[in-house]
């Protein structure tokens, strides 16, 4: 198990390989469908200092607002990442992001961008919403809450020991491609049986 902390340097990322298990501490920005489209179409400047050498998380959390106005996360597991494939490479390059957290993996275009900018795709355990919310230590801010609604807003959070697996690294490796290829061969063999 490796521990990494934001801001993350390129060297730390280049050292990570597919299959590594990681505990992440530091700043994470949540964004999913509407947010990714918005980042590519509007390239908002205010996001740059928030995202530089930090990590994007594909997640639509269940949140609670307390009487004094502050927010906390109740459940916050990953959503399926492939929906952001058209946008992710552009976002990685524009904002100098060091990692993307999600589930299910992403495509070739994103993989190429990970290599180019020096970033990793980190997989979180889907469905572990309560546990992952527990590792969110603080909700720092939320942007575009009115405009996008709570599951789609940019939530800026601090996490501690957030458990992740590197499933796409900055060297072109993808655990998803490896598992898909081997399992599809096995499926063919099974189907050939009587």
């Amino acid at each position: 198990m490796k521990r990494i902390t934001t801001p993350i340097s390129e060297a730390v990322i280049r050292d990570l390989k597919v299959g590594d298990e990681v505990l992440l501490t530091g700043r994470v920005v949540l964004s999913r469908d509407i947010g990714h489209k918005y980042m590519v179409e509007h390239k908002p400047e205010w996001l740059k200092p928030l995202l530089a050498e930090a990590v994007i998380y594909h997640c639509g959390p269940v949140v609670a607002q307390h009487p004094d106005g502050h927010w906390s996360f109740v459940a916050a597991g990953p959503t399926t990442s492939i929906r952001e494939e058209p946008y992710q490479a552009d976002v990685l390059e524009t904002y100098n992001v060091r990692g993307v957290i999600g589930k299910g993996g992403m495509g070739r275009k994103t993989s190429d961008a990970l290599g180019k900018v020096g970033a990793c795709y980190f997989h979180a355990t889907g469905g572990a919403g309560a546990l992952l919310a527990e590792r969110v230590k603080r909700v720092v801010d939320v942007k575009m809450l009115e405009e996008f609604g709570s599951p789609e807003a940019f939530w800026i959070i601090e996490v501690e020991d957030f458990p992740l697996v590197v499933t796409m690294d900055s060297h072109g490796g993808s655990l998803h491609e490896e598992v898909a290829s081997a399992s599809q061969d096995r499926a063919k063999a099974l189907m050939a049986q009587k």
């Binding site: 949140v63 459940a75 959503t79 997989h123 355990t125 469905g127 572990a128 598992v179 099974l190």
Partner: protein
Amino acid sequence: MTSCPMPTLTPMATVEAKSVLPKDWFADLGQPETLDLTLAVTELIRRATSRMPQDIIEALVASRNGEAEGSRAANTLDTMLENITLADDHVAPLCQDTGTVIFWVRHPFGFSQLRIKEQIRSAVRECTSRSWLRPNCVEALSGKNPGNNMDPFGEGHPVIHFEEWAQPGIAVAVMLKGGGCENVGAQYRLPDAALGAGRDLGGVRKCVIDAVAKAQGQGCSPGILGVAIGGDRVTGYEKSKEVILRKLGTANPDPKLDAFERRLMEDVNSLGIGPMGYGGHTTALGVLVTEMFRHPASFFVSISYMCWSSRRMELRLDAGGRPSFR
């Protein structure tokens, strides 16, 4: 290989103490017009969203013990089990995707479905405002979210199936069906030339293997597969969800299908997809199959994929109107 301990959920006394139902609450089923299920259904959803059924926990533990110590598969299953304990302890949603909310209501003659529907809808709104359900019901085209889980166009969500039955009590089952796993469901029409699948159990087997291989980890594996053989396109898919209400570890009442389920479990768990698609021996926790009628010209195989976080719960009111949850 060491084995992991069975997670302990909070004792029933604690669950009862946190209940939104008043102590000793019951419904007078002799006076159907007075029936109000709002609080009982609120409690049903509270438990469904935060408390994993015991059969699923046992299946996860058994799978964990079948994975090599220290492997990604074992660690991931440990994370899932830890999540189950935390959600129960905090009365928090097990998963932030609290899904499409689906009910099956069975009641005796004389009860108003209009009223029960309004009571269920009211319970769903209440659970959404309490953060037990995420607002998951949006306009199809614009994506606009009314924020209360109510269908903006009609009364399509929450989904409610009603059935009048000949028993004296009432049963309300709920399933929280996440979007990621719903997206990897599939429906096949046999014969299927590409798969080499004919109109028999061997053909059905190929459909299930194909669907699981295509799903990879994206439905949050290890999944539970509901398989309906037959029906039309609508009833087949409906039945493939309903069959997921069956407890894991219970035998299929049809011995031929029971043997088929066991073989399919071996098949899909040999694919190597593993928990979350990281590789491993655990790709499915269960395969649940049912046979239906069909039109002579059609042979559909409908497959619903339920994520490992199989959130389902049933409220029963016995003949005396006393509630229990199972």
